[in-house]
Symmetry: C2
Subunit: 343 residues, 2 copies
DNA sequence: TTGAAAGCGCTAACAT
DNA sequence: ATGTTAGCGCTTTCAA
């Protein structure tokens, strides 16, 4: 009783007294079958609890499997969860299913996952590339018709479709917002590692906003953190500088949590904050948190749409789709007008 | 150039001038192969970019596929994201990969997903069951050795392992905390639909805490909401009651967001709140939000461990694993001591 | 140490 | 309207 074989097409055929092919025809609604046979087959299928073996089918049909391989840094990060949900929504009626794994931003783990997905002959491969990962090994697959899409960051060594946020423009807008409200010493707390694409782009936006306003760029105000605790520590350090910043720009949602937590702990409501990426309860904070919101749903949708178009024969050259961010001013970027700094 | 066939074992064999079986042996390190052949084979594999077709392999070997099918209500919900991440961590060195899909709490979508997963011959099936879904169709698979685990809620029509939070005890503790701080009119805002297991359990905990304290249970204080906006509206309605509650108990994280948002909007810091499930920034709110924290990592770990044990031959009877919750008192459940209600 | 043949569960291509 | 044969890419079984 333990591990009895699952019934096969042949079992169903034997039960009814027809050939395997007839059962196949009925189940796939391919070709003709008499009403009587159809009924009998369906009855036998139900009786035996038969479920066609999709792997066997795929092998015979020869096409790719009806799965999408998706590699993200962290399954628990709500941003990537939202992206994944949106991809699923977009591909559901094509019958595609998500095969997911997390890389922890480790190139080796990323490679292991993509190799596994390729061995499964996924229909589409989507990757949030890790820093240091090389993707030239995917060239042949792409050439053979496998749609490959990079999400959130461009990949290295392979020219293919990618979908990213408007990191630079978004960060620029956020910092410009702070400048417009009188801030002149604005610190940047970015992602780690510093080579991360998103960090570099957002930092570039920060710098361009300062430059545009004719403000000096103080290297001691450009910092990094890779988790919430780290961001809190950096915040503390920045505020104890001889000439502390009057405003902080958070390079991502995790950093934002660390900043906000630290400011609350030290009761510093006089420090302005703008964060890249929205966080829950932002509007409830005091002051409410101003953010440069990303659009994970649209990122997922765009990535899926691009991949499906490739699957449908789109042979145009690789595109980079930039999904706009949106500045949501809630207060924390305005209050208070900083006192004039003394030199 | 577009869709040229991926190389097969036979292609590699032809390239080297050996039989397919020899190549297979080298790649699977099964049986003997001369150093020379091994080298040649490996070289040809690299040259052709050969990757064994896992589906074909599985079909021949006959065993289940190295995937875990996981059905959750919503890929974007961080709670389920954390559970999924924890499952992945636990099964990674067994070489298992996650096949994921969201049901939107719709029994039909849930069934479609589980059927698909079964057709793929997943090694393990894990489901967060939707209200109204029946799982008796899984009996045969379970009997045939497929580990099935229900997560967050028990399933219907099938006795199998399940992993849930200590919903009843947790809710009891949260409400008792409010009572201990002087509250006597405490409202419950639960999940929807009202048949949802988690809502029923948490409501039972709420009721038992009231009973234990000799407090009357006022039906007008037991309410529901199924999204953040709904929870805000319910909060508004409760506070405009002739005899409004002095404290609110949130039945889940989404409801908590709605309550907190509405209280902030109406500047009602006099209302105490305890929420089931933790939310980011809870400690930064004013007052900081007291919660009954769940442990999604442990839920995922326990679910995966139970399933792996079954895979390894554990034939003991179905267990329900209850993962403890933890009351984290941060302030919102204490302040202020309510004024004595006037009859 | 290697190979040939058979077969996993299914369907394409041709029968009939 | 149904059946037969062959074969997808791989591994098992047996032989050499």
């Amino acid at each position: 009783m333990a591990a009895n074989r699952r019934p096969t097409l042949a079992d169903v055929a034997r039960e009814v007294g027809v050939s395997a092919k007839t059962v196949s025809r009925v189940l796939n609604e391919d070709g003709y079958a008499s009403a009587r046979t159809r009924e009998q087959v369906l009855a036998a299928v139900a009786k035996l609890g038969f479920q066609p073996n999709l792997m066997a089918r795929n092998i015979r049909v020869g096409g790719p499997d009806t799965t999408i391989g998706l590699v993200v840094p962290d399954l628990g990060n709500p941003f990537f969860g939202a992206v994944a949900g949106s991809i699923e929504d977009t591909v559901r009626d094509r019958g595609l299913t998500l095969l997911m794994g997390s890389s922890a931003d480790d190139p080796d783990r990323e490679r292991a996952l993509t190799d596994k997905f390729l061995a499964r002959r996924v229909s589409i491969l989507m990757v949030v590339p890790s820093v240091g990962a090389d993707h030239s090994h995917l060239k042949a697959h792409r050439a053979a018709g496998l749609p490959v899409v990079f999400i959130d960051r461009p990949g290295a060594g392979l020219s293919t479709d990618s979908v990213v946020s408007s990191n630079r423009a978004g960060a620029h807008d956020g910092v410009a917002h702070l400048i417009a409200h009188g801030h002149r010493r604005i610190a940047f707390i970015g992602d780690l590692p510093t080579k991360l694409y998103t960090r570099r782009e957002r930092l570039a936006g920060y710098r361009s906003a300062l430059q545009e306003a004719g403000l000096p760029s103080d290297r001691s105000l450009v910092t990094n953190a890779h988790d919430q605790q780290g961001a809190s520590a950096v915040t503390r350090r920045l505020l104890s500088l001889p000439e502390p910043p009057t405003a902080l720009f958070a390079g991502n949602n995790i950093v934002a949590l660390g900043i906000v937590t630290e400011l609350a702990r030290s009761a510093r409501k006089d420090i302005a904050v703008v964060a890249f990426d929205d966080v829950p309860l932002a509007e409830v904070l005091e002051p409410a948190l101003t953010v440069v919101a990303q659009n994970p749903e649209e990122i997922g949708r765009a990535a899926a749409a691009a991949a499906l178009a490739r699957l449908d024969g789109d042979r145009s050259r690789a595109r980079t789709i930039t999904v706009p961010t949106r500045l949501i001013a809630r207060g924390s970027g305005e209050s208070p007008a900083p006192a004039r700094q003394e030199a």
